[in-house]
Each structure stands twice: as C-alpha cells, then as structure tokens.
Symmetry: C2
Subunit: 348 residues, 2 copies
Amino acid sequence: MPTVHDLDTPSVLIDLDRMAANIARMQAYCDAHGLAFRPHIKTHKIPEIARMQVEAGAVGIACQKVSEAEIFAQAGFTDIQIPYNIVGPHKTARLMELALYNWVAVSADHPSVIAGLGDAARAHDLRLRVLVELETDIHRTGAPVEEVVNLAQRIEQDDHLHFLGLLVYPSSLAMRPAIQEALDRLNRAGIGVEVVSGGGTGAARCAHEIPELTELRVGTYVFNDWATVGKGWASPDDCAMTVLTTVVSRPSSDRGILDAGSKTLAADRWDDAHGYIVEYPEARLYQLSEEHAHVDFSACAERPVIGERVHVIPVHTCVVSNLHHQLYGVRGDDIEVIWPVAARGQVW
Amino acid sequence: MPTVHDLDTPSVLIDLDRMAANIARMQAYCDAHGLAFRPHIKTHKIPEIARMQVEAGAVGIACQKVSEAEIFAQAGFTDIQIPYNIVGPHKTARLMELALYNWVAVSADHPSVIAGLGDAARAHDLRLRVLVELETDIHRTGAPVEEVVNLAQRIEQDDHLHFLGLLVYPSSLAMRPAIQEALDRLNRAGIGVEVVSGGGTGAARCAHEIPELTELRVGTYVFNDWATVGKGWASPDDCAMTVLTTVVSRPSSDRGILDAGSKTLAADRWDDAHGYIVEYPEARLYQLSEEHAHVDFSACAERPVIGERVHVIPVHTCVVSNLHHQLYGVRGDDIEVIWPVAARGQVW
C-alpha cells in the first residue's frame, strides 16, 4: 500500500477516521433532534465522500452551483438542493435539464428570480420546487420577512413552480424570531410549508434550539479547519484535512518557507494566520505568496531544517479542495484511497 | 462564431488586443534595453499564450513549480527556468527527468538545496544549471550577499552542477547595490557570471536602471489586474482579463450580489476591494463568499437589475487563471479562442 512518504508535496491529506467521526457525529445530532440532514458538497466536491454522508443517513445533498449538481447527478445523487438564485436563460435551462430526472429544489429571494424559474420550467414542461430565502444578519442574499408571503404566493400561482418552504443561511439562534414570523405570516395566508431548511457549521450547534427547522445543511463539518477551531466549533483533533508540505527555505534563524502558497492553501486568514502547523504549534504562518508560505518560527524552541515535511491545517477547507486535482484519504501513513475532486472549478 | 452572449457566467474573458499590446510593449522594452525576456507562465498557465510571448521575442519561460514545467515541456517549450528551491528526492528526480531533454535552470539559496540538486544530477548523470538567489526586501527566499560566493563555489565544485549566475525577486531599484556587491564578490573570487535574472511586474519598470541585469522575468504584465492598476503600473485599459458575471440578487437598493465569489475571483484584496466593476466604477466589491460577490452600489447613480451582466477586473490575475477550466479569448463580443488552463492546479 502506498504511504504518504511516496507523495510529493504539497498534497492534501484526509484523515479517514477523523472524517468518519465528523460524519457520524453530525448525523447523530440530526437524528437525535429529528432534523433531516443535507450535507453541502461544496466543501469536498467529491461524490465518494457524499456517498459516505448519505450512507450515514443524509436525505440528499446541497450544491452551490448548477455545474456542481450536474457532476453529482451524473454520480448518482438524485435529491439535490441548490440554495442559490438561479438566474439567466443559460443557467435556468441547465437547471431544468437536471430537474427532469432528479428531485431538485432551489431558493429564490425576488419576484424576477421566480419569474425566470417559472419561464424555464414552463419551457421544459415540469414543476420545480422553490424555497423562499429569508434574509439574515450576514446581509448576503434573502428577502425580508415582510416579502415572504408575496414571494410564496408568486411561486404558488405559477403552475410550473411548487412552494416548498423557507431557506435560511446561516440559521443562527438570532434568526428564530424572523423564522417564526415568516411561518406565522405564511400560516395566516393559508400557505403550507413542507421544509424549513437551516444551514451553517456554526448554526448546526444550535439547530435543536430552533424547533421550526426541519432540515440542516452543513458543509465544513466533514473536514473542519482552522477557522472552525478558532470559532470554538471544533478542536484541532477534529480537523480531518491537513496539507503535507516541505520546508524549502530557511532564510534566517527565525523564518522558514513552505512549498504551499495561495494556490495551495487559498488566501483566507484566521486570526492573522493562514493555517496552523501541526508539528510547530508556536509557529505563525503569517503570509502567503502564490507558491510560498512565509512562517515565523521565532517562538519555537525547535525549528525545522530544509527538507523537513510538516502538516498544515488550512484556514478554510472548502476553498482548498477546489484548488487540487485530488485528495488522499489516509489512515496513519497509509494512503487508502485517492479521490479526484470531481466538481472542482465548477463555477457555472 | 460564438459570442460572449453564448457563455454562462462566471466566465473569464481575455481581451486579445489588450493582451497582444501588453506582450508587445514588454518585449519592446526589453529589446530596447538589451534584456533577455523570460515571461513567467504562472500568470496564465496556458501554453498557447506562452507561444505568443516566445514568438514576440522571449528567450524562454519561467515556471514556479516542476509540475508546471512538465506541462510546458510536453507542449514544446525547451528553455525553462524555475526560480525556486527544488527540495526533496521526489521533486529533484522529476526535475532531472525534465533536465535530460530540456535547457533547465533552477535557483538555490542554501548549501543543503545545492547538495540535493547535486545528488540528483549525479544519479541522472547530467549537469544542471543553478542560479544563486539573493535575498531582497520582501524577505522571502534568498541568501544574504555575504553567502553568494560560498554558494557559487559549492555549485562550481560539484561536477554535476553549473553556476549560471544570480537571481533576484523582485529586482527593485533598491536592490542594485546588493547586486553590484554580489557581482563584485564573485568577480574577486574569479567566478564567472553568465546571467543576472531580475523579476517582477513592478520591477520591470526600472529594469533599465539596473544595467547589471541580463534578463527579466515578468508574469502579471500579460493580463494586468486591479492590483497592478492600484500600484500605478498599468491603467484600467491595459487590463486584458475580466470576469463576466451576473447580478443574481439585489437584496436592498444599495446592495447587490454577483455570481462570482472566492472560488472564481480568489480572495485577494486591493485597497479594500476584491475587484473593479467596469460598468459601475463607483461600486465597491467589498466582500466575497465562496460563490457570491457582495457589492455596495450606494455611490452609483444607476444600479443594475437582477440578470444584468457585468465585467469584473480581478485583483490578482495569476490566482484567477488557476481557478478556471478555461479562459475565453475575445475580440469585442466574439469568442475567437478557448484555452484550457493546462497547468492549473499543478502544485507539485
């Protein structure tokens, strides 16, 4: 069996035991609280990992792009939610091709998005499930609670659309009053709600305190990363993804350079660092060039020599997967599986 | 002929006329000042574009990774410099396979790097060209000027290595005294120098003021980006790369969301923005999620509707190319060529 010593660097390793524990823990949480679980595949973009999530009990998957959903539909996943406004004739046509043979739901936050979905569904002679997205405190997409009934009615009034329910991201505890108000308004308008879909790795910790939720979408939990650790949502031992790198330069006694820059780790930061070096906890990964990580080892009693290999827990796993041809599933030093990142770069 | 209206979004467009002008301008500059020009292909990772650069007069190419060099060697490029410490038995072995059939040079900043290169060259029974990298004010890799003679001698003393000269990144004007001192020390030690290789899109503007340079390596100039504009090195009209995006949400009168997040534009910032929207110069692209660009349109008299397409000049073109399956070469609205990004994701 090949081992990590056979790999060149940088290479992205997935600790299979840690990932399995992360999958089991989240599914057990959802099972305990009667929540349907829908893992977001944007984190790994690998059908084989989604298969493990479904086998553990997930009801289906969430994808962020139609092109991701196309890859996963080809891989045999039939229950796909895209929590995104699908806009424009190219993309709505592709969405309908997908919806012809799969259980597909999308979200919408504006009448013009709903109108575009309706036109495309009519042209394909099918009925598409649509969730209304509620705005949250991250101020990204989503409609204000006052708009929810209007949007739901527009969906219901279109013979080619079906109002499925509400979608919230992130479904933090602070969102509960707005969710309750939206449901109350829909109830008073006589509109049925099948699904209330919450999401977010942080929000997953309080999903049981929002009993209105029927479903949870979470992505990052499968690997965890230095940001989820920093936010207190995971411990370093829950981090399944590390990037195996080599120390390629030691330009001074304090500084070192790893062969993993922003094209390997992405440029995301947490708490002024671009990742955490497992073997040198006191080191600070303070800057990235495209192919260099700049590390300050001044706080470390022992310091590495050129050629030494170290493992980096990245700040944001979802963008790391997207940069790599494949991930290596390991148990100890053994490489048990090599997964092509099938949906990486699928931005359409 | 297909047009940009046939494309889904987000798609990365390259203005062929602007790129041709950028290529011609840099080559003319190098020709005027007697500098060999060696474009750095990390910016585009596309052999067809490197071919245009060589046809314009470039002497060869620079690659940042051995895996990039392998792709470009397969595409027919034989003169390849890798300005990087190549470390470890896996990578030095691959480097030597490359050097068997191509003119290859690498840089080194430490005796242990030189020893590793020598061992691998001996095992492959060839002689590898090595440049000594001089440290600069960016404090990345590179040896101090006092070490240059020692490193050059170690290279010369190895029958399987050949000391080619000095490498500097970036070769800003402030580096001239150190370059002069290094050359003086080498001269006094009786060590010949064939190449003094400078680099950097900014440093290219003053390369003629460092007559010691024999060669210039530049990458970003071929496309330019919002960071090179911000630094005063290019105008917006010199930017050949734009990302065609769609406005997918207008959650408030001030805000808008484009379908291009950190998996499309990368997370780089310049002057508190993640890019520049050509159609809305007063808009501010203030935040990115993975698949959302968050835009503040409050300073714009006219504001877009959902479905409108806009062009974004990204902050850093080199990391954008690396995120996409292909780039579209356009002249006006016509798509004249589609280039696969052959070496994207080549991190080894």
